[in-house]
């Protein structure tokens, strides 16, 4: 397995080139994409131009960035100028963004080579990629199973070794859950740490862009590259990018780690055993394990499935056939908009738009949306109390290993319950990551989750690195 760190080292020291690394990535994609449906678009020509530019800069003796020549996969809800960007929806079919997301600019400035756009659940609404209008992505570890979602394509790209790193977005677990199901590392950063300029909005008070990788160190490096204030995103935190890679080997000696029962109870026996094993590994590395109960976290799912649809119903009002994407004609402007939206959106997107519209409508606002916002306050306060006692929280990422296609697709509530452990972090705006630890049924990977207070990414990476070594994946 190649890491981003090793690729960049080899490109910089001349033992490889950006073009050679790109060609290998393109070959791997060509070999497996028909089977796995990971990429919706591969930018062969554009990526070659970027890779050649990196090699030319090195030949001129110029300094190149920390991701020099590293191919990277991009979730298809992030805009890249001139590259088809669909959000896995028919309503944006054929649309080419006229600008780059800030994360794209930062990747290119760091020498990375974006190779293409990966599949997702339509508008990032889902936990399996089965909601993509362009067909589901298959889990590279077992193609009869889902890769998770919504960032299933970006997780599968790394799990299939097409790229060493990729970008996803996490609104209620859409990075951490597919990372768990695909056996890789996935990070949901602190709200505001990474600019969302150029990310197609789903739920603006929850959405956050973050990294996928095989190793903890690669995610730390990638997050360092994309983080930091951006004047183009008014929700972006004011500070510059934190130092993360330098802290991955800091360890957990003296740290207090909360084992929170609401974040693993009800999981499969193998998942519970993995969480207990992770706790033991952290204890052996010098941390103190504190068993905690945070009952408020049980309310997170209900609050999320009102707040996120409410925000989505507002954000997705822009798809009206006027300024971009698809239009279906109608006899007047209202008929045109209704025909466009009816033809352009899939069933899950329609469900969430309607749920959100209902929760915000006259007579129901206080009972649903208003109540959910108050529960959000309870969640934030409960986490804040816990973080007075512990530095880090440990739990499971998902209740079980990767599930089969169709297993949950017919029952939205069953699908939503897959996010029960990841959602509370988004409500609080805090960071969390998932990393593989142990294996469960069918020898499939299990993800354990590490959570911390806002801006605590460095200590989360250090704890994750400790578990990575304990799990024998050093």
């Amino acid at each position: 397995m190649k890491t981003a760190l090793s690729i960049a080292d080899n490109v910089r020291n001349g033992s490889s080139t950006a073009v050679a690394e790109l060609e290998q990535t393109l070959d791997t994609i060509a070999a497996r994409n028909d089977e796995l449906n990971v990429f919706l678009h591969v930018d062969h020509d554009g990526a070659r131009v970027m890779a050649e530019a990196v090699d030319a800069a090195i030949a001129r003796g110029e300094s190149v960035g920390p991701l020099a020549g590293v191919p990277i996969a991009i979730k298809d809800n992030l805009c890249q100028r001139g590259i088809p960007t669909t959000c896995s929806s028919k309503i944006l079919e054929g649309w080419r963004p006229p600008y780059n997301a800030t994360v794209i600019d930062r990747l290119v400035a760091a020498g990375a080579v974006p190779v293409g756009k990966t599949n997702l659940d339509e508008f990032a609404m889902g936990s399996s990629t089965e909601n993509s209008a362009y067909g589901p992505t298959r889990n590279p570890l077992d193609p009869s199973r889902v890769p998770g979602g919504s960032s299933g394509g970006s997780a599968a790209a790394v799990a299939a070794a097409m790229t060493s790193i990729s970008l996803g977005s996490d609104t209620g677990g859409s990075i951490r859950q597919p990372a768990a199901l695909c056996g890789i590392v996935g990070v949901k950063p602190t709200y505001g740490l990474v600019s969302r300029y150029g990310m197609i909005a789903f739920s603006s008070s929850l959405d956050q862009i973050g990294p996928f990788s095989s190793t903890v160190a690669d995610s730390a490096l990638l997050l360092e590259v994309i983080a930091g204030h951006d004047p183009l995103d008014s929700t972006s935190l004011p500070e510059s990018s934190p130092s993360l890679l330098a802290h991955v080997d800091d360890g957990v000696a003296g740290k207090r780690i909360g084992l929170v029962k609401e974040l693993y109870e009800g999981s499969s026996p193998a998942v519970v055993a993995a969480v207990m094993g992770a706790a033991e590994a952290l204890r052996e590395a010098g941390a103190t394990i504190v068993e905690l109960s945070i009952p408020e976290l049980r309310l997170g799912l209900s609050a999320y499935y009102l707040i996120a649809p409410a925000e989505a119903s507002s954000n997705l009002a822009r798809y009206d056939g006027v300024r971009f994407g698809r239009r279906v004609d109608g006899e007047d402007v209202t008929a045109m908009m209704e025909a466009t939206r009816t033809a352009g959106f899939g069933a899950e997107v329609k469900r969430r738009i309607m749920l959100g519209t209902y929760a915000l409508s006259a007579g129901y606002y206080d009972a649903y949306y208003g109540q959910a916002l108050k529960v959000r306050t309870l969640t934030i306060n409960a986490f804040a109390r816990a973080y007075q006692e512990v530095d880090i929280i440990l739990g499971a990422t998902t209740p079980d290993v990767a599930f089969a296609f169709g297993e949950k697709a017919a029952d939205p509530m069953a699908m939503y319950l897959n996010d029960v452990f990841t959602i509370p972090t988004n409500l609080a705006g805090d960071p969390a990551l998932s990393l593989p630890f142990g294996r469960g049924d069918h020898n499939l990977p299990i993800g354990v989750q590490l959570l911390g207070p806002g801006r605590s990414e460095a200590q989360l990476f250090a704890a994750a690195r400790t578990l990575e070594i304990a799990d024998g994946r050093a």
Binding site: Y191, V322, V333, M336, S361, L373, K374, V375, T377
Partner: protein, 100 residues
């Protein structure tokens, strides 16, 4: 506590959201959305009087920048991606009816 979701509620919401639903979709969505709202009843049972609602995790406040003109996106490039454009503007079907 709230009353169960009715078919007529779903039809009304679909109109508000500019979506056309078939009869089958109306039935299915009434059941599915009803299940989600029923799950949410664990919240409506709570007494949350006095709890301040949170709309944003870090209490976002207005962000200002100096009032300096900076380049915007290119108009032609933007309009090229629109379903219909005319004379440098987005074009839509007729909004107003014929004069009486």
């Amino acid at each position: 506590m709230t009353t169960p979701l009715q078919r007529a509620d779903v039809a009304r919401v679909a109109r508000l959201a500019r979506l056309t639903l078939s009869d089958d979709e109306l039935d299915l969505f009434t059941e599915q959305l009803g299940n989600v709202l029923e799950h949410a009843n664990d919240m409506s049972a709570l007494d949350l009087d006095g709890v301040v609602p949170t709309a944003h995790p870090f209490g976002l406040i207005n962000v200002f920048r100096p009032d300096v003109v900076t380049p915007s996106l290119d108009r032609e490039e933007l309009l090229r991606e629109a379903p219909d454009a005319d004379s440098g503007r987005f074009a839509v079907p007729r909004i107003l009816g014929e004069a009486p």
